[in-house]
Amino acid sequence: MAVVFILAFVAVASVLFHLLSPWWWTPIASNWQYIDNTIIITFWITGFVFVAVVLFVAYCVLRFRHKPGNRAHYEPENRKLEFWLATVTTIGVVAMLAPGLFVWNHFVNVPSDATEVEVVGQQWLWSFRLPGANGKLGTSETRDITAENPLGVNKNDSAGLDDIIIQGGELHLPIGKPVKMVLRSIDVLHDFYVPEFRAKMDMVPGMVTYFWITPTRTGTFEVLCAELCGVGHPQMRGTVVVDNEADYQTWLQQQQTFTQMMAASGEPQTAQ
């Protein structure tokens, strides 16, 4: 009897825990409400299955536990039942997968009007690069990295001279405008993770990765690294501020361009 009670209790208590738990996701600050919705659908379907299976087991133990003289039923197979269970399961799986793939299609297709913002990870610091007046990021190369040119921006690419470089500081983003986060790392794997944005992606040395978001709420958000990057991994924090357009422009004017940065460090310009 204790077994039956405890099994039923596990099922019911798990549901109550889910409903009453104070640990729930952070208030969303991007367009990925779809992701939250897909999680909710998945919780409903999986929660139902979990409770149904555990309660069924509890009922079986209650009803069919050994008593003297009992004998089990002998039934090796039941094709019909197995067929129906497989069919219902398939429907449940499709109900989760279909919205998931639909949203994923949205996720992988970056809107054409998205602005590029580059994030560069290194042990254990975040740097950022925004396109300058020409709206384009210049090319960059890990081999070009020096103490004066910490992001390896290509000095021979005129598109990069007006790029805005932020080393170790805050990144600001304007509200309501899609941004493509272009991700690079110069040493090991990192992962640009802002919990309120929902989206995240690894940063891999030797290649460029990306994801896109539209910030939907102004505020200051913490950047965490979500891919183990050595002993300093937990200290690799940063800040993203989502501004309204006016505040964003004010902030943008105060940032230094690549040219200014090189001039400050006394490095001669070699752009063609």
Binding site: F50, L101, M203
Partner: protein, 592 residues
């Protein structure tokens, strides 16, 4: 020559392979140490795996203490913390679970359940164990090497695994880890070929493939998978070793480390991840399928009822095994690989849910209209169903690519994989030990201690990992030495971490009771007799218990029926052993 009858149900002449004196060991050393008896090798494998598993258990306490009380235990600095999580993960997955299920249960059960005298290649089988032991010793050597063991995380992702920002990256740690893995795979291959060939060639007369107990099907399928999956890890380990020692660049692109340009260039970190997970995902099922098989038999024996849908169970295992080779990149949705792969891998991953769900249905339907004896093995089987269903369902979150994006690399993942491939298979391991200990030793494990052990372990483990999902949902990232001030670490989350640590210590303490029980019952346990559970399979029909070298005495058994003739209508007892003739053809295996 022996006259082989045309139908498996025809009367079969007595077994032709008589036991011969020639191959029995004659000294203490060849009987107990350098033994070629699969049963002794099984016990050697199991004791080694459990010993190193206890080290991993202690490591988990240390990391939980750090998470609950950051900074209090000053000897757990960041370097050590990452070394602990790395060694904990690698030991548990490879050196405990894989070794115990295949090297331990595989060796003990394959020959006995199939009615064979031993594995087909006993000498290679012996070598398999000694190379495994060497692999464990090389792994442990990491703790004593300069710089300590590697702290790269159990996935050992380059470039950080071999750079100086990671403990052991530029010291001995990573070299010893990769060497140990290479040795493990060599040892496993010797054992694994044995298991496969024994299942295919060493079965008793009448033991058709579709009469094998599901335990054997699980171990067999898992072994075939392991033989196909481990080579990917093998080459990845060799390549990374070359990158680290010889300065090649398989996985190393151009890198600026702490302001210094490294000599590497052109390699691909993601290539390593593909190789690792091409092994790593099948590995989940290499652990799970033996557990599936064993738990099927535990449920059937202790509910006195045939396993429901035997053929479906076999095919589900084979299909899961095959599909598990085309889902690996669901571990890499946010790795930076081409995101369009997500469509393919999310679909294959969720398709696996269907055969897996069928297995769950068939377990619970085996309970339906059964005669459920709430023995310790049955309790652990029930614990398995609860934890496996829970962990399997959260897999549907992480497999569904877009849902994985916010949850990946958070504590949700940690909770998920511990529930599904930590707690659930360990429930089965305990159930199996309580079930087969009487055959191995001739004595029963103590029932009262067993019940306490079960309830503390099952409920404690559930209380550790169920709430942990919600920390991940909140956004707490995994592999953080300390989270500190953060929106994803409110004071309530800190309290929950303290609770989880308390539960982890409690569950760990309960294992001391289990070890005591196992040692105490060796001398003081109730006498078990040959077949205490009244089971049908051949290991319970040996003439003597524990079975001697050669297993079956003078003549090998002949098999007349499937492994699940429990409560057959009209039979005098509620079980009919597989080697009992069936003159009236009452068994209804493959009924429809």
């Amino acid at each position: 020559m022996v006259n082989i009858p045309s139908s498996i149900n025809d009367p079969i002449p007595a077994a032709e392979v008589e036991d011969v004196e020639l191959y029995h060991p004659h000294s203490w050393w060849t009987t107990y140490v350098f033994s070629q008896d699969a049963k002794v090798i099984a016990i050697q494998y199991s004791l080694t795996a459990i010993s190193i598993g206890l080290v991993a258990l202690v490591l988990s306490w240390l990391m939980r203490l750090q998470l609950a009380f950051p900074g209090v235990f000053t000897f757990i600095d960041a370097d050590r913390y990452y070394q602990f999580i790395t060694m904990h993960g690698m030991i548990m997955v490879i050196y405990l679970l894989t070794a115990l299920f295949l090297g331990g249960f595989g060796n003990y059960l394959i020959p006995l359940m199939l009615g064979a005298r031993d594995m087909v290649f006993p000498y290679a089988n012996m070598l398999s164990y000694w190379i495994y032991l060497l692999a464990v010793l090389v792994l442990v050597a990491g703790f004593f090497a300069p710089g300590g063991p590697t702290g790269a995380g159990w996935t050992l992702y380059p470039p950080q695994a071999i750079l100086s920002g990671t403990p052991g990256g530029q010291d001995w740690g990573i070299i010893l880890m990769l060497s140990s893995l290479i040795l493990f795979i060599i040892g496993f291959t010797m054992g694994g070929l044995n298991y496969v060939v024994t299942v295919l060639q060493g079965r008793a007369r009448g033991m058709t493939l579709m009469r094998m107990p599901l335990t054997i099907w699980g171990i067999f399928t898992a072994t075939v998978m392991a033989l196909l999956a481990f080579p990917a890890l093998f080459v990845a380990s060799v390549m990374m070793l070359f990158d680290r020692v010889l300065g090649t660049s398989f996985f190393m692109p151009a890198i600026v480390e702490m302001g210094t340009q490294l000599q590497h260039g052109g390699g691909s970190p993601i290539l390593f991840q593909h190789l690792f997970w091409f092994f790593g995902h099948p590995e989940v099922y290499i652990v799970a399928l033996p557990a599936f098989g064993i738990v099927s038999d535990l449920i059937s024996v202790h509910a006195r009822k045939n396993i429901f849908g035997y053929r479906m169970m076999v095919w589900a295992m084979v299909i899961i095994g095959a599909l598990s080779f085309v889902v690996w990149a669901h571990h890499m949705y946010v790795s930076g690989m081409n995101p369009n792969f997500g469509f393919f891998f999310a679909t294959t991953t969720l398709i696996i849910a269907v055969p897996t769900a069928i297995k769950v249905y068939n377990w619970v339907l085996t309970l339906w209209r059964g005669d459920i004896h709430l023995t310790i093995p049955m309790l652990f089987a029930l614990g398995f169903i609860v934890t496996f269903v829970n962990g399997g369902l959260t897999g549907l979150f992480l497999g569904n690519v877009v849902v994985d994006v916010p949850l990946s690399d958070t504590m949700f993942v940690v909770a998920h994989f511990h529930m599904v491939m930590g707690v659930a298979p360990i429930m089965v391991i305990f159930g199996a030990i309580y079930h087969w200990y009487p055959k191995i030793t001739g004595r029963m494990l103590d029932e009262t201690m067993g019940r306490i052990h079960f309830w503390v372990t099952f409920l404690g483990a559930y209380l550790i990992f169920f709430p942990m999902h919600y920390l991940g949902l909140l956004g707490a990232p995994r592999r953080y030495y300390e989270l500190g001030e953060s929106v994803v670490n409110p004071p309530s989350a800190h309290d929950l971490n303290i609770f989880i640590t308390m539960m982890a210590l409690t569950v760990g303490a309960a294992q001391v009771l289990f070890l005591f029980n196992a040692a105490w019952s060796l001398r003081h346990g109730k006498d078990a007799g040959g077949n205490p559970w009244r089971a049908t399979t051949l290991e319970w029909q040996t003439p003597t218990t524990p079975p001697p070298h050669g297993n079956f005495g003078k003549e090998l058994p002949v098999v007349y029926r499937w492994a699940y003739d429990y409560s057959v209508p009209g039979a005098p007892e509620d079980f009919i052993p597989q080697n009992e003739p069936d003159p009236e053809n009452r068994s209804r295996e493959h009924a429809s």
